[in-house]
Every structure is written in C-alpha cells, then in structure tokens.
Symmetry: C2
Subunit: 774 residues, 2 copies
C-alpha cells in the first residue's frame, strides 16, 4: 500500500496518503483494504475524522432496504424489487479540533502518516503527526477492532498527544446515522435510497433506534466511552460525546469507544445496550486479547506459508484474513460477495460464496460453513417460490440476493445461471463429507439436496437416444450465455443429482419416493458431456468450438473488460470466455477428464479466456499447475494474491473481491498443493516450481488436522487428531495422530514438445507493480 | 361493432355504447377502430364532447418526446433513451350544453346512437339523439375527416337540432393541448412524459405554438370555424370558440371546423395557418369530394372482393382502409406499427412495416412505399452509428424507433433481431422490382442494400468446411431467441447479399469494390440452411427440433399469451413458437423448398405454434392454402380479418395492428390467390375452398394493372396498361392492355392419407363471435 518499505508477512501498512483528491480511487480502495469485519458487522477503513472519504460505510449483515426495479421492457418473472445493503449508523467518527482548527489531512501539515492492518492482532492501527495552521503539533493514534469474539461489538482506542507545546483540543466522538454518501450511482433511484435509508424512531445519549423505510428492519446502535469523561447529547440521527481540554506534551489523552449494534431482533435496543455494556466492562485490552486469541486459533488451522515470494505470502494472509472477516460470524445471515467491506453488488450474495469462499472455509474454519448453508436452508421457501414462478420444480436459488428473493435485473446473466443451485448442493455435499455434520445434513442439507435435484430433473430433457440435455442456460462464463449443455452446469447438475441420491436412505425415510430418486440417477447418468471431435477438446457448451473465433487483433488494451466495450450480441456468439468455466469444471470434477484431455482443454480455453472476472485467475492457476505449467500457475497465483492490494485496483473501491481472496488459497493449495476432495476422499499431487523453495498449508478434515509442507522435491504430511487417509500422487497414505511422512514429488510426464497454454497476448497474467510492497 | 344489423361491406357501424364504464376496453377499442388518419396526422375516434374517453389521441407522425431508459443492470450499447409519440393538441373537442347541462352520454337519456366509419367516403359519421335531464331533446350529427388530399388538414362538420321544443344551447369548440391522459402505464416516468408533453410558446385565437420539452420539436396547431359566427379566445394550451344561442326545431345549427398542423418545419405557424386557410376556403364539401375521389382511386387499384363470407369481406376492406390511413401521406416520416391510431409500442416503427405493410402497398399504392423507404434511407446514418456501436459493419437498423435511433429496451428480442436489416433490404428489392423506380434505387436503395449487406458479411462466419453461419440472433419467433442459424434470417440475409450484388454495375460505379461484392456472393451462397434429418423437416434454427417438446397439457387457456405466464428462460429452450418464422421464410422464399418439404414443415411447425403474435395467422393462412388445407387457411384468414373488429379484442385499445391489417390482404392474395413475386417475376397458384364462390383482387405492377377473379374452378386475369407476363400454376401467361384470360385451377395433388396440419388444441384459429356483425 505504501511506496516504501519491505513487504511484511503479517501486516498491510500504508505510509502515504493522497488526501488532496478526496474521492479518488486510491482512498476508496484503502477503505476497503483496511475494512474490519467479523461477518456480522463491518466498518470500512474510513479515517477517524470522517474526511476526506471515498465512501463511508458501516454494514450490518442483511440490514438492507427494498428498492423497485423497473425495466424498459418488462418480462414475466423479472424481479420487481431488489435489496440494497444500507449504510448503518457510523460509530467510527472521532473528530479532533486543535487550536480551533479541525484536523483534516488536507489542511495543515501531515508530518507523518501510517495505517497498519495487523492480520494477527485483528486491528487497524493508525498513527499520525499533524501540525495545525497555528503551528500546534499533535500525534494521534487510534486502534480499531471489530470483535470476532463478540460479534455485535466494535471498539476504538483513540489517543491524542501534544507534541511541542500545550494545545487546546476538542474531541467530538459521533455515532451518526444517514451520513451523506458520494453521489456515484448512475441510477438516481438507488442514490435516493442510499441517501437517507433510516427513519429515526427514538434516540438517547446511549442508543439510537432506526427503521429502514421500506423493508422495515429495526436497528439499534449503542455507544459508550471510557477513559476520559465525556459530555453526551443526542438527536434523532446522532449521538455526540464531547471533550474539551488542554493537552500538555507527555500526557496523552486516551478515549476508548465501544459500539454495539442489534437489528432484526425482537428487542434491538435492549440487545445493543447489553452487548455494549458487556464490551465496555471487559475493556478494550480484553477485547484485544480475545481478538488475538481468536486469530491465533484461526491461523493455526488456516495459515499458508510460501517462501520465495513475499508479495504472495502477504497476499495470501491478507486474503485469508478477509475471507475470515466475511464469514466468521455471518450466521444467521449470508456471506456476501464483498463481505462487509463495501456496498458493491448492492451487498448481494452470489454463487461465489458456495463455489469459492465456502470450500476454503470448509477446510480452515468449518463452523461458519454450516452457518452459511443454514442460511441457504432458511431461504429455501423463497427458492421454492421462485421455482414455481419460473414454472420449474423444486427450488431455484437466486442469482443475487440478501434476504433470499431473486434480485437479478438481467436474467441471461442471472436467473439463467441455474448452476447456482448445483454450486449450493456441491457446498452442502463437500461440507458434510469434510465434517460429518450429520445434524446439519438431517436438518438442512437433505432438503437442499432434494429440492435442487428436482430442479435439474425438470430442466433436463432426453433426446431420441435417451441422452439428457440442459438447454438454454448460462454457465460461469457470462460471455457465452443461454447456451445448450454447458459442460460445467451438466457436471455440477450430475453431482447434485447423484449427491442427493446418495442419501437415499434418509430421503426415503423423509418421504421421497424410490421412483423419484431413480429418476435423479437416470438423468444424472444420461447428462450429455459435449466434446468436439474435430478439435479434440471438450466443449464449453454444445457448439462452442464452432462459434466464430474472437478477433483479438481488433481489441485495444483499454477495451477490457470486454463487456464494457462490446455488446452481448457480439460476445455471446463468439469463442471468447470471460472466466474459467470448463476449466473450473475440470478443477471440480477431475475424474471426468484424462490428463491428456485436461492439457488439451486447458490450452484451448487458455487462448480464448480474457479473465474479465476476478474468479478466473485462481482456477487457471490450479489447472496450469495440474498440467505442469508451474510458472504460469505462479503468475496467475500472483495476479490473484495482489488483486485488491495492487495500486490501481480500482474495482476494489466498493468492496474487496472476497471470492477472489478465497481463490488465493485455492491457487496455492489446490494448485501447487494439488489438493482435491472427491466425495470426502482427499488427494494431493503437490508440485512447486524450482524457484519457490517451500509451501506449507494446513487443512482440517473431520477431527484431523493435516499440515502439508511442499518443496520442489518432496512433500511432508503431518497429522494431529484423528487418523486420516489420503492420496499422494495417486498412492494411498494413512497417518494417525502425531505421525508424519515425507514423500517424493512425482515429476510430471514430459511429452515430446508439448504445446504450451498461452493466454491471449493482451491478457497475460497481471504484472506486479514495482510500487507494490507491504 | 354493434349488436344488431347485417355485416356491411363498406362501413363499420356502431349502434350501442356502454358509456357507464368510461375507461373500459370496448371504448378504447372503438376509438382505435374509428380512428381517422392519412399517415401524416391521425385522430383517434374519441367522442366529439371528449368524455367519456378511453384514451384521447391526436398524433402527428414523428412528433415524439425523448425519454430516459434505465436498466436494473445496464449493458454496453443498451439504448439510454427512447422516443415516445405524444398527444398533439386535440382539435376534435366540441362540447354541447343543453339547457345548462353538458351533453354527456353517461347522463340524461341517449335515445339513439350511431357511429359509422365509411370506407369509401373516408369519414367518421356520428348521429345521436339525446334528452337532457330537463327533458330537452337534441339531435347531433357530426362528420369528421382527415384529408388524404390535404395531409395537414382535418375537418369536422357539427350539426345540432332541437327536436321537440326550442332549447338554449352553448357550443364550446376547443383546440386543447396537454390534455389529461389516463394513467395506465406501469412506468411512472412514461406517464410523466405523456401527461404534459408540450411547452407552450405562443397562442392566439388562430393558432397555438408548442415545443416538446426534451426533443425540442415545434408544433403549430391552427383552427378556424365556418357556418356560424363564433367568439374565440385563447390561452397557452387552448383555443376556444363559443356559440350561445336558442335552437328551434326544424332549424339545425351547422358548424364546420377546420384544423391544420405543422411541425418540424422552419415556420410551423405560417404553414399551419396557410393550410388551415386553404382548407377553410375550399370548404367542407370540397374536402369531402376530394376525400372520396382519393379513395375511389385507391379502391380501384386495391379492392379485394370475397363472396361467401361477409365478415371477411368487411374485414379486408376495413384492414386495407387502415393500411392506407397509416401509409398514404406518411412521407417523410415512417409508418408506425399502430399507424396513427394509438400510442401502442410508444408509436414505434417495427419490422412489421417492411415485412407486412409495404408488400401490400407495393402492389396497391406503391407511391407511399417509395416514401417509406426513403425514410429508412434518411435514417441510414443512425443505423451506421448503431452498427459501429455494436462493433459490426455497415448499418444496423433499429428494432424500434421513431426518429431512427434504436429504442429497444430488451436486446434479445430487439437488437438481436438483425433480420430487420434484411426485411428492409427485401422491401427495397421488391419495390424496385415491382415499380422500376430507378431514381429511388440510385438515390436511396443502393446505399441501403450495400450497407445492410455489409452487416451480414461481418456477422456470418465460415466453419471448417466453408459453410457460413449466423450465430446468436433472434428470428421472427421471439420465443426462441439468440439462436444459431435461424433459417428465416439466413434466407433473408442471403437475399439481402445477392440482391445487393445484383446491382453490381451501379455499386461499382459508386465505388464499391469488386472484392467486396464477391464476398457478399460467397457468404450468401455458403449460408447454412438447417435441416433435421431425423425429423425430415427444416429447422427453425440449428438444433430447434432437438429442444424439449413444449408440454401443452400444462398450459391453461388463460396462460396465453405465454410470454405473460412463462419466463423466457423456459420458452427459449423448448419447441414452442410464438409466430410464423420458418413458415414465413417458406412464404417469402418458396424456391428454397419442395412442395413435400413445405407440407412436412408446415405440419411440424403448425403443431408447435401458439400464435401469440398477430403477425402469425396471415402467414399460416398462406402456407395452409399453398399446401392445400383451404379450410384451415380460411379460418386463419378470418382470425386475421376480424382481429381488430372482434368484441374483446382488447389489445386494439392502444392502436390497431396495422401489419396484421396488411396480413388480411396477404392471406387472401398470397393465400387463396397464391400470389408470389420472386425478383419481379409474378406468379399465381390460386385455389379457393368450395364454399367460397368468388375472390377478386387487383394488383399494380410497373404500369400494368391486373385484376384477378378466382372461383373454385378457374381464374380470370384481366390487364390494363402495359403488357405483363406472369405464371398461373407454373405456366407462363402474357397479357396486353385490355386482354384477359380464364384458366382452370389445378387441383392440388392428394397424397395417400396425408397427415393434416393441426395447431395446438388450445390455439385453434379464433372462433367468430356471433355478436360480431357490421
């Protein structure tokens, strides 16, 4: 984030600010990067004093407002409403006045500036020296945390010190509702909602109570201060605590601020006050300790170490930290695509969660996976209603939502992506296989599996030869929508159907007929897997390889992402791929492809994939590694690991790419680690490029913990907890508690002059910026 | 329209009103049916007194307002604005007050009511007797016309008579701008535009001047009265002429009102006043005479007579009259889908015009076809810009527009229907071949042909075998969008390419390279014509016959139209056809199919076509007739002929289906008459069902006029003007001026037990209502 200093393994540090351009992308991005969250509440990394700000943000999971969707030309079952995450009352605000001048980094002199996100402490620390126009110099230090241990609680320690001479200061510590938002939306109706989303119901110097105007969700925001006596006042949208005093050098002032939020509860005010009081009673230092303890435990089970690439080392920890922040305490709410770091995608949940985030958490922090899938179960009725509305069967999970209702306003890249159903089913199957959580399976998983299977059974149809087809759906690649027999969709639908059928005993007991389960198996086994004989590759969908080849010559560098410069009309009918689709299918279903097919497919699609989605690079890294192209894998890994940290990563401004963060783990563990999990059977085929001396990662599986250390020559497996069996390059290994083994890495078979996978020239993996350091 | 009385051949008569439900569909529909227009201006058939009203409407061709389009999820090249026809100042209003009570058919007693649309006189006559609450009885007669001879002029003769005793009356004759509209739009932004579209600029008792708020079109509306002295006043949105007098029985009062409009002109006020004065000077009777003379000439060249079916006889004349009203004086503006009878489709022009309306006018009233196609030429630059925006080549004509810019808000059923380009090119080729209008060809036609050909050349791509494909486009059938190798599109694109290339000499002279023209021919000849061997039928698009069969069992009667009850997701991927698509291709390109193929194809698609578009029945009638299913052809003909006249035809409320009106002629002349025109070579294969004794129709071709009389046994051809050669059931016939010939009808070959075409059970041709009479 800064211009100087070495990449640090456990911190993200910023030492410069460009405060003169208050709404520029760098500031917005830093607010996302420095966001703190625990899955339940999230605070963007706004400056304590609130200005300058790219976009203020305080998010409470699933505190959303309803908003009408209107269409130039309406269509049946086009959703009429969407849900938009709203900015909750902002408790981060602590304004400082020095000699009558408000501290603003754009005025006076900023003598020193540092912000540091500490991935082990779970805090955002700030340290600045500022000289007012009067010449009075102060040092301000703040430490902010959003508590993993106390999910409703955030706290800030704020310290001010006079540096050269006594100074008169005033501190205004605010909890502010309906804060002004930057007007950056194209759609004026969206802005209207976001401008003042909360109707005030009551206020006191302790707590504000608001209600969202249309969705009717009540939210209580409580605040208190410790350390220094404050005078407080309240109005409908603000609680203010003030201190006016004279500071002498050497005697800093310290103020601890405790915030608690409660919403969608029977008694939000009571709950918020109780949580606030508990936090204040424990005190800031105890919250800090518990924060570190929580993270110590997380890192013990989840840390990934990579020697030889300090940028990626930092990137993977940063990414895992944000994945944890998105998911740790999300239950009973969902894990959104941006976590709680920004209002991008309106705060919606996408398939990203089940396809990228939950797999990582399944092996590193499985408790929150069960919660996230229970949320899907809680919204099953909305999915059933949607299936009925679509004249389908079972459940049709929404493409994007907060509360469960479909909020997608462009159906060819929304509702038509039926694969979200199978992605959810796959996450259920993976979680149950990896944890053995039978209670979840009985209470939630079975019903999800059965209802999603029913959708596929209705959607698929048999041709004259009894081969089943799924026509007119959209796979992960949104540049080729409404296609027939999307291979990814068919493979995942098959898994969905067979996975549901695999629990036949429980399902029969729950009243599902034998005939229905037989149908699932029949459809699953008959589903078409399109293959182009002429090209000797699998087809992303039936006919894909017969489409016109995309003319990369006509595309200028600033024509990416293509969807902003070419019409769908043009993209859909050509061989150009937004993101790994068939390649993701090969990662998730390696058993369907021979090694030679994987290589040929990878080379073919590599040349046609423009990676206009952040979900692509990690998957391409995995298949590059599997097919022996370790340098390319490393490049894609680096692209993924630095996505949100790279200067100029402007798309991070409205929130981090949480699924891409999970993708960094996937690129390392499934790529270089060669990790796969097929129905609970774990396997590894690790392989490191020679210039990376060591990779170490950790996995949880049932009651086992596995630590894997890979060097270019060999891999060491160490087990604690229950005995576990897995495969190393195809050979079975069984290790009990305390045992370890070191095995050689099998060299990948070198074919005579193999063709290399090559991405399109203009879409080589992103180069690292020399300015990018920790 | 009425409950009683025989079907009349030359009039549409209404003798009852249901005035107590002012906004109901019947009233709205009658306003469309009784609309008067000349292509330049149009007046809906609102009652003179303005109330009750389904929707007031005065339309000036291409007087539109701009309106923003916003999308829940925007996409590249999604149009950001649309154009909406606005309601121009209403000069139809003549309010009568009798003994202090306003005449309103909902109050007092309506003793007699009759409205009559006279298809030869070109007038709407009204005759009513009304008794006020006071007991005073009056007779009111009005005659309204929109002049074919004087395109800017409308006129009304209004007569009031006291019936039993002298009555005190007051007449307020208004020209009223920004009249209140019924609030029936889903989209509040549309209502806002339509509520007060015109900003007043100046006013006098002679003329109002307004300007549309965003599109900035100035419109002058002038009025004057003759027959009785009036006192006039004006305000920004109204000119009022008043008469207060006492009427004695036997001495009716007569008022002639003359209106003239001018817009999008350098001096609209001067033009409107001049046209008004000219009309007033000629007087109402002369306008009536010229109206009849214009129509006598039209009917002499266009009338279709059908003995044995008075409903269809009336329907075809009604339909031809409205086609004429839509197109007669449209130039330099387009012919909209609803003509000038309502604001449906926002007043937009669709492909309907070139594919249905212009073919009919080409053979009946060709002068206005040249004008309509010159409008397409005038908007060629917008089409070029659109092609560039779409990253295509040449021109991409809009799916819907008024002024030339694409206004479609749902691209899969809009922009993706590239066939509109070929439909326009086909209309150009047909018009030039049928008229020999070389001036049009050189000035406009060539450029249209070349630019549309360029689009196809860019869109098509060759496979490994050199076969050309057009992928991911939408044909006429909007229930199967974004399909590969839509057969209709490919056939029309081929015609477009070869038709352009056929003018190679002129094009070369205009600078088009030989290489480019060679490319057009190569692509044209290589275009794929999809055929399903297994089913032994052509495919609507590649793979159509492999899609899931539509389950008609699950569809309830009130599930039609399907698009209002099933998602596109579901419709697109099943074998269900909204409207004739491949069947339309067979009508336009009979040379591509053997008779046996036509029969098999027709039967196959007949079983899958739900006719949710009014453009379908006429085409199905043509192919039913061609394949020898004359009763089915008659049923479809009747459905088409009665579409806008049938009680309950609620979709006519916002304007008539002008293309379907043209379709009635097509069903008769191309169906029973078996008329085809291939590159100027005319052919007939007439065939009448035994229960219809006689069909007679007229055609113009260059300087020839041909009258064809068909009976079940024989056909008689009579020629005036230049000599003409055509085919009768495949045999060449040449006739010179004054000559005629009578030839036997070839019986259609009866195969052993041929399968019959059957529409889906629930979608049999519409039954005639017993209440439907003229």
């Amino acid at each position: 984030m800064s211009e100087t200093g070495p990449t640090e393994a456990w911190t993200i540090r910023e030492t410069t600010l460009t405060p003169d351009a208050p709404h520029t992308a760098p500031l917005r991005r830093s607010e996302s990067v420095f966001a703190l969250a625990n899955g339940h509440i999230g605070l963007r990394g706004n400056l304590d004093e609130g200005v300058p700000s790219g976009m203020p943000g305080t998010y409470l999971n699933s505190l959303y407002e309803d908003r009408d969707l209107t269409y130039p030309e309406a269509g049946y079952a086009f959703p009429e409403r969407t849900q938009t995450i709203v900015d909750a009352p902002n408790g981060k605000l602590i304004a400082l006045t020095v000699d009558g001048e408000r501290l603003d980094v754009r005025a006076g002199t900023l003598r020193r500036h540092e912000r540091c996100l500490d991935l082990r402490a779970g805090t955002l620390r700030r340290d600045l020296e500022w000289v007012a126009t009067s010449g009075a110099a102060v040092r301000v230090r703040s430490t902010r945390l959003v508590s993993f241990a106390h999910p409703s609680v955030a706290a800030i320690r704020y310290e001010v010190e006079a540096l050269d001479r006594p100074v008169r200061i005033r501190i205004d510590s605010d909890l502010l509702a309906n804060e002004a938002q930057p007007d950056q939306r194209d759609d004026p109706r969206a802005s209207a909602v976001l401008d003042a989303p909360l109707r005030p119901l009551s206020h006191s110097p302790e707590v504000l109570l608001h209600r969202t105007r249309r969705s009717g969700i009540e939210v209580a925001s409580a605040v208190t201060h410790r350390g220094t006596p404050v005078s407080t006042s309240s109005e409908p949208d603000r609680i203010r605590a003030g201190i006016t005093t004279t500071l002498r050098p050497g005697t800093p002032l310290r103020l601890d601020k405790f915030l608690a939020y409660a919403w969608a509860e029977p008694d939000p005010v009571g709950k918020a006050l109780a949580d606030r009081d508990e936090a204040a009673e424990l005190g800031f230092d105890v919250l800090l300790e518990r924060q570190r303890a929580y993270l110590d435990d997380f890192w013990a089970g989840a840390d990934v170490e990579l020697d030889g690439d300090p940028q990626v080392q930092q990137g993977v920890r940063f990414s895992l930290f944000h994945v944890l922040q998105a998911g740790a305490q999300a239950g009973p709410h969902p894990i959104a695509a941006k976590g709680l770091t920004g209002n991008g995608y309106d705060g919606h949940v996408l398939w990203d969660t089940e396809a990228f985030v939950l797999p990582v958490l399944t092996y590193t922090h499985p408790a929150c996976v069960g919660m996230a899938l229970r949320w899907r179960h809680r919204t099953l009725n909305e999915a059933r209603d949607r299936a009925r509305e679509l004249r389908l069967a079972g459940a049709a999970y929404p493409w994007r939502t907060i509360g469960g209702a479909e909020c997608s306003g462009y159906w060819p890249a929304g509702t038509a992506a039926l694969h979200v159903n199978a992605d959810i089913a796959a996450a259920v199957l993976r979680y149950v296989a990896a944890t053995g959580d039978e209670e979840f399976l009985r209470e939630c998983g079975l019903e999800i599996l059965a209802e999603t299977a029913r959708l596929w059974c209705r959607v698929a149809h048999a041709d004259d030869d009894g081969v089943f087809h799924i026509a007119g759906v959209t796979g992960p690649d949104e540049y080729t929508a409404l296609a027939d027999d999307n291979l990814y969709t068919n493979l995942l639908a098959r898994q969905n159907l067979l996975g549901a059928a695999s629990h036949e005993g429980l399902l029969r007991a729950a009243g599902v007929s034998a005939g229905e389960i037989r149908d699932w198996r029949q459809v699953a086994r008959g589903l078409h897997v399109p293959y182009a004989d002429k090209r000797a590759v699998h087809e992303q969908h039936a006919g894909f390889t017969s489409l016109r080849e995309w003319d990369f010559e006509q595309v200028k560098d600033d024509d990416y992402p293509l969807m902003l410069h070419f019409p769908y009309l043009n993209l859909y009918r050509q061989q150009v791929v937004k993101q790994a689709d068939l390649v993701l299918g090969m990662m998730l279903h390696p058993e369907e492809f021979t090694a030679a097919e994987k290589l040929r497919n990878f080379i073919y699609y590599e040349a046609r994939t423009v990676r206009d989605s952040s979900l692509s690079a990690p998957v391409q890294a995995v298949l590059a590694a599997e097919t022996g192209h370790l340098d390319l894998a490393h490049d894609y890994l680096a692209e993924a690991a630095l996505l949100d940290l790279r200067p100029g990563g402007e798309s991070s401004g409205d929130g981090l790419h949480i699924a891409a963060c999970a993708g960094v783990w996937i690129a390392l563990v499934q790529g270089f680690g060669g990790f796969r999990d097929q129905d609970g059977r774990l396997s590894f085929a690790p392989r490191l490029p020679a210039h990376l001396p060591r990779l170490r990662f950790r996995l949880r599986h049932h009651e086992s913990r596995l630590r894997v250390t890979v060097t270019p020559e060999r891999a060491t497996y160490e087990v604690t907890g229950d005995q576990i069996t897995f495969a190393h390059h195809g050979s079975a290994v069984t290790l009990a508690h305390g045992q370890s083994t070191t095995l050689p890495i099998e060299p990948i078979e070198t074919r005579p002059a193999p063709p290399s996978p090559r991405p399109p020239e203009a879409r080589r993996p992103a180069l690292r910026s020399p300015g990018l350091t920790g």
